[in-house]
């Protein structure tokens, strides 16, 4: 396809070129849809560059069983996504699914975890998947590097991890090879529904498209109301520590500690509601490091090479929002804080539905209408 042809009106405009937007855009393009991606560029908050890179199932979906099922489905589709990305781009995203652990450092923590896990699995319509509650000895047998302070753990064989920077790169290479018209430095200011399509405007000019998908992360909160949609997402700050690369001693991801394919150890999973603040703060990082060292004492001898923070994209109840506009058919919003875990679903399941033009009834639980509860008088 020539450059001039690509600049013609696309079938679908995707707003946002992070992991979520790129997954949807590639998913559409590989079905033959003409896609343009309008991406803010390097000034974007870009959780895709700061995330912890888990493909995580256990513990998700308490309060919305459909989210647990959606997550499990994506984790199961991940081997296919990784294989297809490798085939398409030659990039190995280092996807591994050896099962993951949540380690507990006190009896109270362990009991709280067990209770939460049981509540999750006791929900009506909860999807079935295996998990194990392990004491110290059994956890130690499986993870020899744990320290004496680890009381026990919960293990789920579906959990895994990936090199998320390579995932991000692979999706962009795949988009490019799939003919997606990727436009960096294209922040979107206004979107208007026009007859049979949408008009998207920014400082760069304007673009007409047949359909539109909002995948702009935290930007969706501002953009969604322009299309009769709602996406009241807010930032949730997470800080991450990464150590020097060392020989592999940890072969399974732990929800707050994982050793990457290249050998660095990431420590993460803090959560703070501080608006758009992305500064690294020592008190939180110290607590993270202290807990990680109690879990794996050998970490005390490693050099830290970087710390950073990034912003999760959080809805009020923590679950994803997938919605289609009632007033403007052809307008969709997709937002979640687990763009890595859900990438397989976004490429393989969500994009084809958007191409067809409508989300089926199974997606109703993910509609933002669930959040429209009138406040009591």
């Amino acid at each position: 396809m020539s450059h001039a042809q690509r600049r013609e009106e696309p079938d679908v405009a995707v707003v946002g070129g992070g992991v979520v937007g790129a997954s949807i855009a590639w998913g559409l393009a590989r079905k033959g849809t003409r896609v343009a991606v309008l991406d803010e560029g390097d000034t974007a908050f870009r959780a895709s560059r700061g995330n912890f890179a888990l493909v995580w199932v256990q513990s998700k979906g308490l309060g919305m069983a459909e989210y647990a099922a959606w997550t499990k489905r994506s984790a199961e589709a991940w081997p296919r996504l990784a294989a297809e990305l490798k085939q398409e781009t030659g990039i190995d995203v280092a996807h591994q699914q050896p099962g993951g652990f949540m380690l507990c450092l006190s009896d109270a923590e362990m009991q709280a975890r067990i209770d939460a896990t049981k509540r999750l699995h006791n929900q009506p319509d909860m999807v079935k998947y295996p998990y194990e509650i392990l004491d110290h000895a059994e956890t130690k047998r499986r993870l020899p590097a744990i320290g004496k302070d680890v009381v026990g753990s919960i293990y789920c064989p579906l959990d895994g991890h990936v090199n998320s920077l390579r995932l991000f790169r692979a999706l962009h290479v795949a988009m490019s090879q799939g003919g997606v018209d990727y436009r960096p430095n294209h922040p979107v200011e206004a979107i208007a529904a026009e007859q049979g399509g949408f008009n998207v405007r920014g400082p760069w000019g304007e673009l007409r498209s047949g359909k539109i998908v909002l995948a702009a992360g935290l930007g969706n909160a501002r953009l969604a109301p322009m299309l009769g949609l709602k996406a009241p997402v807010k930032p949730s700050k997470g800080q991450i520590i990464v150590t020097e690369k060392v020989a592999h001693f940890l072969h399974n991801p732990v929800v707050t500690v994982r050793q990457t394919d290249e050998g660095g150890v990431m420590v993460g999973d803090s959560q703070e509601d501080l608006g758009f603040d992305t500064a690294v703060r020592n008190p939180v990082v110290s607590v993270m490091a202290e807990r990680a060292i109690r879990m794996f004492p050998l970490l005390a001898g490693l050099n830290v090479v970087r710390t950073w923070s990034a912003l999760r994209v959080m809805s009020p109840d923590g679950f994803p929002i997938y919605d289609q506009s009632q007033s403007f058919p052809g307008a969709f919003v997709a937002t979640c804080h687990s763009g890595v875990t859900l990438a397989a679903n976004h490429v393989l399941a969500l994009a084809p539905l958007i191409r067809e033009g409508a989300l089926p009834p199974e997606f109703q639980p993910f509609s933002a209408r669930r959040l429209h509860v009138p406040s009591a008088a």
């Binding site: 020097e244 690369k245 020989a247 001693f249 050998g263 050998l298």
Partner: protein, 106 residues
């Protein structure tokens, strides 16, 4: 590749590199001592296995990593050589000890 300047003084210091005895001068950094002894590859990288040697000699580039007295990933260019020091070149990722046992090298 490297020859010492004639006007730099320093008492001889004996150390070990990869099990061989070697001599440096007091005041040498570990990296300088290795280069003066003809050790031009101090490590291979953990990801690609490519050979590496000290580059910036001032603590910035992290290419000079070696194992010193059993501790891996030490910056040779920032540490002064000492009598009896055990220096090892590194193959791949730094080994770590799990549960008291020696960690496997890469």
């Amino acid at each position: 590749m490297f020859r010492r300047l004639h006007d730099v003084e320093g008492k001889p210091v004996t150390f070990t590199v990869d099990g061989r005895s070697a001599t440096a001068r007091a005041g040498d950094t570990v990296s300088a001592a290795l280069l003066a002894n003809g050790v031009e590859v101090c490590r291979t990288t953990p990801v690609s296995g490519a050979p590496r040697a000290p580059y910036c000699m001032m603590g910035v580039c992290f290419e000079c990593l070696v194992t010193i007295d059993g501790n891996g990933n030490r910056q040779g260019c920032l540490i002064a050589i000492e009598e009896g020091m055990l220096v090892e070149t590194q193959k791949g990722a730094r080994a770590v000890a799990v549960d008291g046992r020696a960690g496997a090298g890469a």
